[in-house]
Symmetry: C2
Subunit: 194 residues, 2 copies
């Protein structure tokens, strides 16, 4: 997605070989016009799939999922990461290990909102090691529902998330795929294979 790649090249800050900061438009300040283009692109890439719900995880996935949902005309659920006082006791849950934070956390979805009839498109801002995505996949499958696909804004191809998702037999669509951040340079995967 050229618009997104341009935005990354113009505004992202490469922190080190593995970390890129996109605070100015994606996950702190949010560029809603860009989000709409992202939503349209997800709709195009999953046009053939029947989808009944979008699932994401708090916090930075929420904005993208909510704008994208306008193109799918379905509700969004966000998995809760933190102690949610009001959350139902009956939840589907999954443990996710975060390399960035070097700790595990639970993500949870109330059982009421996923059923075996659901075909769920999972949306997130980043794919790196794939752990958050795998956690959401587990939740959808524990509910007896179907994972219709995984839509990612920025994939860090040099980590191994993609391989894990493909092994699960899931259609993965990443709108910008970064091959390398070495020496402060952002190298995208050749768009021919993108």
């Amino acid at each position: 997605m050229e618009l997104l790649k341009r935005k990354i090249l113009n505004e992202a800050v490469v922190v080190d070989d593995r970390v890129i900061k996109v605070d100015s438009f994606l996950n702190h300040q949010m560029d809603i016009e860009l989000f709409n283009e992202i939503g349209k692109e997800f709709k195009k890439r999953f046009a053939k799939k029947e989808i009944t719900k979008l699932l994401t995880v708090e916090a930075s996935g929420i904005g993208i999922a909510v704008i994208s949902a306008q193109y799918f005309h379905v509700p969004v659920i966000f998995a809760k990461k933190h102690d949610a006082v009001n959350l139902d006791r009956e939840t589907f849950q999954s443990e996710v290990y975060s390399f960035t934070k070097s700790k595990s956390y639970n993500i949870r979805v109330a059982k009421n909102y996923l059923s075996p009839k659901d075909k769920v498109l999972i949306i997130d801002d980043f794919l790196a090691n794939g752990n958050a995505a795998l956690g959401m996949i587990k939740i959808v499958r524990d509910a007896g529902a179907e994972v219709a696909g995984l839509g990612i804004v920025i994939e860090k191809r040099f980590q191994n998330g993609r391989d894990k998702i493909i092994m699960e037999g899931i259609q993965l669509e990443s709108l910008a795929i970064i091959e390398s951040l070495k020496n402060g340079d952002i190298i995208f995967q050749d768009s021919a294979t993108n």
Copy 2:
């Protein structure tokens, strides 16, 4: 806002005299068509104000703010509550005491994204004691920016948030104002005074 009140009457669960659960459409599963009506209503109520940014706080304010931003054509910032590895060191911050969780937490916005030129509409899902809203007001003012208003989806009028906001001289617009949850009954403020 009648549509919202109907939704609350039909789907909300009254947990006790002070707590209402709106997980099915507002802050776990999210009804995007309703969010669009909420966004339009905020735009109508703040039509006379010049607004350059929307500010909310993670996680449940994000969906509403992002959809609303489509009617204001401005970016959204969400204040971060949790340890954000990638957040700039230079932040505006504010301590917020949560009665629900009986603890304090910091909310933070990177200094890059608020300037004295900004006129900021603050958006949140709930107004109860007003502490989260006051925290965001402090951040906007610390940046030298102007608080253009506070847009709330559900106000619990029996708590004292409204009084604190009005004392700050801020236009407060709540789309559903609940006067009482006693005996499991949801009583809205008379719409004549709403």
